[in-house]
């Protein structure tokens, strides 16, 4: 494994955006019509597009349209964020919009692995802590939030909350190996040896 000194992600610091609601699915983050493309370019323009338009129609400003949260690097959401479709277009859109960390109560598994593979941290906090963080950001939108992967904490407004991330994904961020291709191709003999012992590849 090669070390990726410039890829190491120990912490993410920046303004935050509160995104309440459980079970926010990837169809909402990135509606399917924006998957009709052969590249990920420009997806940042379509993040939560339908939710944003629906809100605008009723006079509700979606957090992604709210100038108070412009330039946010951290999204603070709730439970089971990113459920549903495996479309990487959802985290791609968020990353291209500028998001570098998502703080939630829990994450859907495929969204989690897609996000961490792109170097976007997904950390879990307790339900009351997620609510407290969202409230803090809502009340003081400019507040700088730091998601510290090394210390496993979220810091904002002079307060510190514990957060967690599965050990191996966290390790991949800290060591700069979150883009797994290099690791997975490093020992190709071992890959071939594994293939060779599989009955359905050997031909029974």
């Amino acid at each position: 494994m090669s070390a990726h000194a410039d890829s190491r992600i120990e912490r993410v610091t920046g303004r935050a955006l509160p995104l309440p609601g459980d079970d926010i699915d990837t169809d909402r983050i990135m509606p399917a019509r924006f998957l009709k493309a052969v590249s990920f370019d420009g997806l940042e323009r379509h993040v939560f597009e339908d939710d944003r338009k629906a809100g605008a129609g009723t006079g509700v400003t979606h957090p992604f349209d709210d100038p108070r949260f412009a330039g946010a690097r951290v999204v603070v959401t709730a439970r089971n964020f990113g459920c549903g479709s495996s479309r990487e277009h959802a985290p791609q859109g968020l990353v291209r919009w500028g998001v570098r960390a998502v703080v939630g109560i829990s994450f859907a598994e495929i969204f989690f692995s897609n996000s961490t593979t792109l170097g976007m941290a997904c950390v879990c906090v307790s339900e009351p802590d997620a609510a407290a963080l969202r409230a803090l950001v809502e009340q003081a939108p400019g507040t700088e939030v730091t998601v510290d992967l090394a210390a496993q904490t979220v810091k904002a407004g002079g307060r510190t909350w514990p957060c967690s991330m599965p050990a191996s994904a966290r390790q991949a961020m800290l060591t700069g190996t979150w883009d797994a291709t290099a690791m997975l191709t490093a020992d190709f003999d071992a890959v071939r040896a594994t293939a060779a012992r599989l009955p359905y590849i050997r031909g029974f």
């Binding site: 609601g21 052969v38 883009d179």
Partner: protein
């Protein structure tokens, strides 16, 4: 101590432990489609990499194909461009492609099993969350994103976190008019849309033992809607009978040796599970979703819940769903007027699904205000259905009979809802905007229930419309 199928298959496919602590897992079968692969292929080119195991990789085109005329070039320029990109990538990287001229084409999760590419004991990955479908055969199958598609193309491997296994036993016998779709909706209602995070679901019990392979595929397909990336059924005589003679399944003595191995990878009787859930199959009634995620469901006999009833996400989640769906707390779900009926998808677009819907549609007429379409899951399904005259039954009843594709499940082709149309759908997701209109509404149900709703013009109890002596 006994081991589960998941543990056996996982260990067998483990290449090594990665420095991060993740497992480097070998992928035995990689399925590719046009939506989640072009960027992966571009990344390979950018880094000068090739495809490590083109002989373990197959591609098809399903999401964006029109179903009312599949002649090229497509009227939709971007659909044409995506198709051309897939064709170019498959040529360049020597990946076999079931293209639109192939009699084997169709939805990736329908054709894998049909062709016998899907087999017990494999690890299977595809850039599509409904890859869990293939678990019906006793494989460990899961959806991945595009960067992981790139990883599998480049190395045939993934960096994976371990999974725990929850055993779900569906006991007893399903009542008439109750199908695999109702079982899985009942499971998701019980465990929630995030109850399966970190778990693989192992489905078993008398009901699952008696299910045919297509029913098991429906069950495993929607594991992901309960948060479980992997769902599987242990392989048994039903599995082996389905596989015998299929294109990519070994024949002769090799088939017998394969069966011996397939039997050996099933969970041991004394396997230890992280969690167990018993569910009485006899108590399940036809299910319908009323909300905006697949956990928000009820039986056709029940009334729509209100904010005071509580549940996952609390009253706010129920209020949001009621407002979006235009439903009132306390109203019966039966009798809800629909605008569109869709039968198809990787969940319920197989021959037995079409038979169940046709049994309800036979000799009846779709309500005048309902737009109804039937989209076979594959070209083979279409041909088999036509061979037994199902297309005539549907057409006479007023359904549109289409060509194979993903169609209105996610509306990446011209089949979509308009405005706030409400669709009775045999697909898998009732998310806001899922079927192509940002304000469109979806109610998930079994194909037979969709046919019943199409005819009644409103959500209806299919048990009252089943012909004598037929049904589940």
């Amino acid at each position: 101590m006994g081991r589960t199928l998941l543990e056996k298959v996982w260990d067998l496919h483990t290449v090594r432990k990665l420095p991060t602590g993740q497992t480097q897992l070998f992928v035995g079968l990689h399925l590719v489609h046009e939506v989640t692969s072009p960027q992966a292929c571009d990344m390979l080119r950018l880094h000068g990499r090739g495809v490590a195991f083109p002989d373990r990789t197959w591609a098809t085109i399903d999401h964006i194909v029109p179903t009312d005329g599949q002649r090229r070039p497509f009227a939709d320029g971007m659909a044409e461009q995506m198709t051309a990109a897939l064709e170019r990538n498959c040529r360049e990287f020597r990946i076999p492609l079931f293209d639109l001229s192939s009699a084997d084409r169709g939805i990736v999760h329908v054709i894998g099993p049909e062709l016998g590419l899907t087999q017990p004991g494999m690890t299977i990955a595809c850039g599509d969350s409904h890859t869990s479908t293939h678990g019906a055969f006793g494989s460990i199958a899961f959806g991945i994103g595009t960067s992981q598609v790139r990883d599998v193309l480049a190395s045939q491997c993934l960096a994976m976190e371990p999974l725990r296994v929850r055993r779900i036993d569906v006991t007893g016998a399903l009542p008439r008019g109750v199908y695999a779709k109702d079982v899985v909706l009942a499971i998701i209602r019980r465990l929630g849309v995030n109850g399966g995070v970190g778990f693989a679901y192992e489905f078993g019990g008398a009901v699952v033992d008696r299910m045919d392979m297509e029913e098991r595929m429906t069950l495993c397909n929607m594991s992901i809607e309960g948060g479980a990336r992997v769902g599987y059924v242990n392989p048994d005589a039903t599995t082996f009978a389905y596989l015998r003679g299929r294109t990519y399944v070994p024949a002769g003595d090799a088939f017998d040796r394969a069966v011996t191995w397939w039997r050996s990878i099933a969970s041991d009787p004394d396997a230890v599970y992280a969690d167990c859930l018993p569910l009485d199959g006899g108590a399940i009634a036809p299910m319908v979703t009323w909300g905006i995620n697949p956990g928000q469901s009820l039986s056709v006999e029940e009334r729509v819940p209100g904010p005071a009833d509580g549940g996952p996400g609390g009253g706010a989640a129920i209020e949001e769903a009621l407002a979006y769906m235009g439903l009132e707390a306390g109203q019966t779900i039966a009798g809800t007027r629909i605008d569109v009926a869709f039968i198809g998808s990787c969940t319920n677009g197989r021959l037995s699904d079409l038979r169940a819907a046709a049994a309800v549609a036979r000799g009846r007429r779709v309500a005048r205000h309902v737009r109804a379409l039937v989209v076979p899951g594959s070209e083979r399904v279409r041909q088999a259905a036509e061979a037994e005259g199902l297309h005539e039954i549907f057409r006479e009843a007023g359904f549109d009979w289409r060509e194979a594709g993903c169609s209105m499940c996610l509306a990446m082709n011209p089949d979509r809802l308009n405005g706030r149309e409400l669709c009775a759908s045999s697909s898998n997701r009732n998310f806001k905007g899922r079927q192509g209109s940002p304000t469109g509404r979806t109610m998930l149900m079994s194909p037979a229930m969709v046919a019943a709703a199409a005819i009644a013009g409103e959500v209806a109890d299919v048990r009252r419309m089943l012909p004598a002596g037929e049904g589940a």
